[in-house]
């Protein structure tokens, strides 16, 4: 058993090595573009350089002196925009290809408690879908399993790579718990039913509590390997995030109490439909939220018709850390619309740069990768893109070039190929 443990360690070490592999690049300068830094700031006439896969100069071009000979290439991008990579959290992108074809779906393992399963190794770098997502500016995804009480572990992946190893940004970043629902939907997609009270709600919380008690005890030292327990260790050691999926205010209260009882250091609520109702509790406990898709209907016939559109702005005003997601039906192929959902929040009150932040630095912070990327800042990884127009507006979003770790990526995709082929027919 001890042998096995060390094997796991070796694997983990390998992953770290792979993921920190740096592409050798000569310095490149982008000058004249509007740089949306992702941290809420914007530089209108910017100078942004990248060196060795990282941002170097990030400045107002009119305020600094630039030596052109220091750069291999200078891109003049006047009237264009620079954005840090858009990040789509909580998605099945890369582990599903065609929803209706079961063979292509790798996100829902059988069984109820699967903390040990890892999306990372199922991630398909050659997904036709992901190529269409990155060409809209979304370059990073938190690839997340679904189903059961504990779906498994997500990993944060670049939408580029020869294999899952080099596509990995952060492996096994957290464990996803589907909080028991006090009320649940019945029926199935073709024949939806009503909502029923969950009579087993407290029993299910008890079961979850027991499981966590066990896992906590295990994390204090065990001489046998239990894969499930092993996978949950990080939650108590502070190196894995607990992602709790829940929406109703009552459920969220219970979930927060649970998180506090177990002293979980890294915690995130996913969904949070009722977040505004318990905003004080969220603030007090400093729990970030990954929101449901902005482009959704209000949760009731009485609710304000624009409630889903204004939620981001209202949370921003409260100072709650949140980010947008595109989870829900058709989440994988729809992830390319993530920028436009941020655009919608602008129409409903959000400041533009804050909207950019809600799909860049905020998700990076929430996913625990903001030390690596998330904003256009000196020293951060040069994972970003240039759009000829405003990237949050579908009318103008047009990604001219994109870079992952300083390396330019191919923005072609299956759909563009077909377009060219039939357009030139």
């Amino acid at each position: 058993m001890i042998e096995m443990k060390s094997k796991i360690t070796v694997i983990l070490l390998c992953l770290v090595l792979f993921s920190t592999k740096v592409y050798s690049q000569k310095p490149i300068l982008f000058i004249g573009g509007t740089a949306h830094l992702g941290n809420g700031k914007v530089i209108k006439n910017s100078a942004v350089s990248i060196n060795n896969g990282k941002f170097d100069i990030v400045a107002d071009a009119s305020l600094i002196r630039i030596d052109p000979s220091a750069f291999d290439t200078i891109h003049r991008i006047y009237d264009k925009h620079i954005y840090p990579a858009f990040i789509v959290p909580n998605t099945t992108l890369g582990i599903t290809e065609i929803s209706a074809v079961r063979a292509t779906n790798d996100y829902n393992e059988t069984g109820n408690i699967n903390p040990n399963v890892r999306s990372q190794i199922a991630y398909n770098t050659d997904s036709k879908i992901s190529k269409t997502i990155r060409s809209n500016g979304v370059l990073i995804a938190q690839v997340t399993p679904r189903g059961g009480r504990i779906s498994g572990q997500s990993s944060i992946m670049y939408l580029d790579g020869w294999n899952w190893e080099d596509a990995t940004l952060k492996a096994d970043d957290g464990i996803h718990v589907n909080w028991p629902e006090s009320y649940y939907e019945t029926g199935w997609w073709a024949n939806p039913g009503g909502i029923k009270e969950n009579k087993s709600y407290s029993k299910q919380i008890d079961e979850l509590t027991q499981l966590f008690n066990k896992a906590k005890a295990y994390s204090n030292g065990s001489n046998i390997i239990d894969l499930k327990m092993e996978s949950m260790k990080g939650l108590f050691e502070g190196n894995k995030t607990l992602y709790v999926h829940c929406d109703y205010s009552g459920d969220m209260r219970d979930a927060i109490e649970f998180i506090n009882n177990f002293n979980i250091e890294k915690k995130v609520i996913i969904g949070g439909e009722d977040a505004l109702k318990i905003k004080d509790l969220i603030k007090k406990n400093n729990i970030p939220i990954i929101l449901n898709r902005v482009h959704r209907l209000p949760d009731s016939q009485d609710n304000a018709i624009d409630a889903p559109f204004t939620q981001a702005y209202k949370l921003q005003k409260e100072g709650i850390l949140f980010c947008l997601s595109y989870s829900g039906s058709m989440e994988a192929m729809g992830a390319r619309n993530l920028p436009f959902t941020a655009g919608t929040t602008v129409a409903y009150g959000q400041e533009y740069e804050d909207a950019v932040k809600s799909i860049t630095l905020n998700p990076a912070k929430i996913l625990g990768i903001d030390d690596i990327l998330g904003s256009v800042e000196k020293g951060k990884e040069a994972t970003f893109f240039i759009s000829t127009g405003d990237a949050l507006d579908m009318k103008t979003n047009s990604i001219e070039s994109a870079y992952i770790k300083g390396k330019s990526i191919n923005l072609n995709n299956h759909q563009k190929d077909l377009f060219r082929m039939y357009n030139n027919r």
Partner: protein, 999 residues
């Protein structure tokens, strides 16, 4: 009573004795032939809703009433019952019952495969849910327990039927007596029954409301046709035709169904009696329009538990309003002169009947109307008013005796049915309460007090330390025992003053005792007073959040000044332009328009639109919102007979949400579960109006076709491998088969219509087939196709089918591989209505590309972008903008894809789809370029009516919150029911093409 009357009375007594002999029965033992005469004297007789005899005598003989009068002349052989002022009412009649019938249970369909055909034996209708041949009378059996539940609420007779299926068969009218089935049955077949619910039928069809409606239509036609043909025997049609003259009762579960039944009634000249769901108040005009008598339940909703403010938010305002208004439903019907009956059906607990009835009275229902709704109205409906319903000579002796006015605080003592007494509440004649002096060997002059209720007295002996209880009083016999058993007595009450008896002490010894009454206790019962609260709450249209209060919007006269106008005409986008609308039309476009050329001062409003963009409304070529109970009738490969137009739901709040996104009209399509689906409805989102009013008048007729994975059931699970077709090969054959059948059908009609008049008169017409009618319309270009399609092979195939049969495919919808066959589409003349960027959700959309709209458009295919989704339908402007992003379509062309182009595809461009003088005033004002993600709708006008306004929307939210809080306050104060309903979240039913929920 005069001598003459007396003789008439004698004659009648004789007459009825003859009638009453138990003829036709074998009797075990000696017959009971003597039917006594009963005279109920000193009664307050409620003869009928209009007539009361304050102090009268009711005389019955056998099962008939022989006198109702103020007479004191009573036949000698009569048994006299002095009612001492008690009330007599005619017993109630319930027309909607399943009394005495076997329970209907759905058989577990153990088949692994779905059942598409009837598995019923015998020569009956092809659909198991159509069974007019079933007679309640053949299965009726008196049932003691069910009977008691009715009679304790004053009912004396019911019309009972099998509450199952669409054509349910006949109901039988029975008296609630405990006599034999034969004697209880007053009319074996009193009415026939119908509904939209297929019930326990295990057959797949129909799975939707529109499928039920189509099935009803076709069955009514076939029943007529059956009479003209000799080729087949069908016991269902035979039975239907034989019972055609009976009253027809149609049971509905949704107030929107009134309009649906009304349409069928008009079409087939049938007069239905409609059994409603108690929500008639919410759409009263549609109920009035049916001019049908209605049968309503009084199952008023219980109040909600509103103690948890968060959970209370889950209760929709419409439910809160319904809680408040439902008890007013009967009085609202009465106020609108609708003839109605009240049924006790649908109540969860039969004890709620009187509680709710009294609540309805409290809410303003007149007692006479209440009584009529339970007696004479139902009797008239089943044509039995000559037998029952009022207390008149010759009528059946069905009446009940009550302590007082039953609509106030009266309680029913006895319910006499067909002249036989049933005790409901024992009229406690003896009141033993008072102060007594107790004497026995042990007790000397002890003071005793008997208090409590008359029926349930409590006894206190002051010298004993604990309270004795009277455990039982039966007649004048009383048992008294102490709680600890140390004193156990039995006694009898004599002459209104003394209780004598024996008791046993703890040692087992018996002693005699005597208690002499010293005085009675003054009864302090508060007098009952009926307080009428007849302030009917405001009913909105629709009666929910964002509904209209009282004033429905009217077409406005507006001058929009200095707008950026997207004309969609050759003028393109005009800057600083004025637009004037009036009477629902655009009447002027230009710069610096002088409104006084069009209006007088004060007749119009001016909107400064200098920062705004003005466009025509968005039209969604493909939507499934605003549809009731099922979007697919996918239980057959061809369902051309079903009509979305039958099932429009004008109360869907998504209508308001679409308006807020600038969408003003949509084609509501059948789903894509079968190759030939149903007929579309093309509507404007006229929020606040009825289903019929939403339809666009004189719009061309459309129908949905579908191809590919959905119709071959690829993604329905492994058990769904039965229905033809299962491959694209089979899909083609379905079309050819359908259209060849249609050609043959058309030919038979042409030949029939060509016959010389004389010959025609003697030749039976061909059978009318609604499915084939629709297909013939397609062949004759009188009905147009919108076809759900994805891959190029199938698109190509359908164009071949159409070309070879001589018609056109109007629109391919979804058409995600349309770009591969754009030239062929152009050649054929088909348009395309596509998703902007959906793909990868199934195998057949693997080659779907977001450049599709652009490529189609570039190939001069008329191209639209649609939603197929309630959420996307409210931001189609954004979807159009994606054509700019992906394909490089111009802004104006992209905008046309959600406005003018869908108008053209729907053949509505003569009145909609652009800003042009003479077109409908469907106007949207935007904060900026409507194709921008940052653009918001400021106002939406439909036919010149302002149906969405961003400022008014905020006011409505405040109004709705106020209304919500007002009703929550009322619920908090409500004491009528301890049974509080727990709130829970509500889920919206949202339809897409492939949703197949069951009706």
């Amino acid at each position: 009573m005069s001598i003459r009357n007396y003789f008439i009375l004698l004659f009648m007594i004789f007459h009825f004795v003859a009638l009453l002999a138990q003829e036709g029965f074998q009797v075990n033992g000696v017959q009971n032939n003597f039917k006594p005469t009963f005279a109920f004297t000193n009664a307050y007789i409620v003869v009928s809703p209009e007539k009361v005899i304050e102090k009268g005598t009711l005389i019955i003989k056998g099962d008939r009433i022989i006198s109702v009068d103020t007479t004191t002349l009573i036949p000698k052989d009569a048994i006299i019952i002095d009612l001492n002022g008690d009330y007599i009412y005619p017993s109630f009649i319930d027309l909607y019952s399943n009394y005495g019938l076997p329970k209907i249970e759905k058989k577990n369909n153990n088949y692994y495969s779905p059942q598409y055909e009837s598995n019923k034996k015998g020569a009956y209708h092809w659909n198991q849910a159509i069974h007019p041949e079933i007679n309640a009378s053949s299965n009726f059996n008196t049932n003691k327990e069910e009977r008691e539940n009715y009679i304790k609420n004053g009912f004396g007779s019911v019309l009972t039927h099998f509450q199952d299926g669409i054509f349910r068969g006949t109901g039988t009218f029975v008296l609630l007596s405990d006599k034999s089935n034969q004697e209880s049955m007053l009319e074996a077949k009193a009415a026939t029954f119908y509904s939209f619910k297929k019930g326990v039928s295990t057959q797949k069809n129909p799975s939707s409301l529109m499928g039920s409606i189509a099935l009803i239509r076709q069955s009514l036609l076939d029943a007529e046709w059956y009479e003209t043909q000799k080729e087949q025997t069908n016991l269902s049609y035979y039975s239907y035709n034989n019972t055609n003259d009976l009253p027809k009762v149609f049971s509905v579960t949704d107030v929107l169904d009134y309009q649906r039944v009304h349409k069928i009634a008009d079409e087939f000249e049938i007069e239905f009696i409609i059994k409603g769901n108690g929500k008639e108040y919410s759409r009263i005009q549609e109920v009035i329009n049916t001019s049908s008598p209605v049968i309503i339940p009084i199952n008023f909703p219980n109040p909600y538990d509103v103690s948890n403010p968060e959970a209370t938010e889950w209760i929709s305002l419409s439910k809160l309003k319904d809680w408040e208004t439902s008890p007013f439903n009967p009085v609202i019907l009465a106020n609108n002169n609708i003839e109605f009956c009240i049924t006790s059906s649908d109540l969860k607990n039969e004890n709620d009947f009187f509680k709710n009835l009294k609540l309805a009275i409290k809410k303003g229902l007149k007692k006479s109307d209440a009584l009529a709704s339970l007696t004479i109205n139902p009797a008239k409906i089943v044509n039995l008013d000559s037998e029952i319903g009022v207390l008149e000579v010759g009528k059946i002796a069905n009446f009940f005796i009550a302590s007082n006015d039953v609509f106030e605080n009266g309680i029913i003592y006895e319910n006499w049915i067909a002249g036989e007494k049933n005790i409901i509440t024992k009229k406690s004649l003896i009141d033993i309460r008072g102060y007594y002096t107790l004497n026995s060997t042990e007790f000397k002059n002890e003071l005793v007090k008997i208090t409590g209720k008359k029926e349930n007295p409590e006894l206190i002996i002051y010298s004993l330390d604990s309270l004795p209880l009277i455990s039982k009083i039966v007649g004048s016999n009383i048992n008294i025992s102490l709680k600890n058993g140390s004193f156990r007595a039995t006694g009898k009450y004599y002459n209104n003053e003394t209780i004598k008896g024996r008791y046993q002490n703890i040692d087992g010894a018996f002693y005699n005792f005597i208690m002499i009454k010293d005085s009675t206790i003054e009864e302090k019962e508060s007098a009952f007073s009926l307080e009428i609260e007849n302030n009917i709450p405001a009913i909105w249209t629709p009666n929910k959040s964002y509904g209209f209060n009282k004033n429905k919007p009217i077409p406005e006269s507006v001058l929009f000044k200095n707008a950026t106008v997207w004309t969609n005409e050759k003028e393109g986008v005009l800057l600083n332009t004025d637009v004037i609308i009036s009477n629902g039309k655009i009447i002027a476009i230009g710069t610096l328009l002088n409104p006084f050329n069009y209006f007088k001062e004060g007749e119009f409003k001016t909107i400064d639109a200098s920062t705004m963009h003005l466009t025509c409304g968005i039209i969604d070529e493909h939507s499934h919102i605003a549809i009731s109970r099922g979007v697919n009738e996918g239980t057959q490969a061809v369902s051309a007979e079903v009509r979305i137009g039958d099932v429009i739901n004008p109360t869907d709040h998504n209508i308001y949400r679409q308006l807020a996104g600038g969408t003003v009209a949509a084609q509501l399509l059948h789903g894509s579960a079968n190759p030939i689906g149903g007929q579309s409805a093309i509507i404007k989102f006229r929020w606040g109006q009825s289903a019929e009013e939403m339809k666009i008048k004189n719009a061309d007729e459309f129908i949905k076709f579908a191809l590919g994975e959905n119709v071959k059931q690829s993604n329905w699970g492994d058990q769904e491998r039965v229905r033809f077709p299962q491959t694209r090969m089979g899909v083609e054959q379905i079309f050819y088969d359908a259209f060849y059948r249609a050609l043959e059908y058309e030919k038979s009609w042409i030949e029939y219509n060509k016959l010389p008049i004389k010959k025609k008169r003697i030749t039976p017409p061909p059978r009318e087939d609604l499915e084939l009618n629709a297909l013939v319309e397609i062949l004759n270009s009188e009905r147009f196709i919108t076809c759900h399609s994805y891959v190029q092979s199938e698109i190509n195939m359908l164009m071949h089918v159409a070309d070879s049969m001589g018609f056109k495919i109007n629109t391919f919808t979804h058409i995600l591989e349309g770009y591969k066959v754009a030239k062929k589409m152009k050649e054929h003349g088909a348009g395309g209505s596509t998703f902007s960027d959906w793909w990868a959700y199934k195998f057949e959309v693997n080659d779907a590309i977001p450049h599709n709209a652009t490529l189609l458009n570039n190939n001069e295919v008329l191209t639209a972008i649609n939603s197929d989704d309630a959420e996307m339908g409210r931001r189609l402007n954004q979807e159009a903008a994606k054509a700019i992003k992906y394909g490089g379509t111009s802004e104006e062309d992209a905008w046309k894809m959600v406005t003018l182009n869908p108008a053209k595809l729907l053949h509505l461009d003569d009145r909609m789809g652009s800003i042009k003088v003479g077109k409908d005033a469907d106007i949207v004002l935007w904060t900026e370029n409507p194709l921008s993600v940052y653009s918001k709708v400021i106002q939406t006008y439909v036919d010149g009516k302002l149906l969405f306004d961003i400022k008014k929307d905020l006011e409505l939210r405040q109004r709705d919150l106020k209304e919500r809080m007002r009703i929550i306050q009322l619920i908090s104060e409500d004491k009528t029911s301890k049974n509080k309903k727990q709130p829970k979240p509500e889920k919206e039913k949202l339809y897409h093409c492939d949703d197949r929920d069951e009706e």
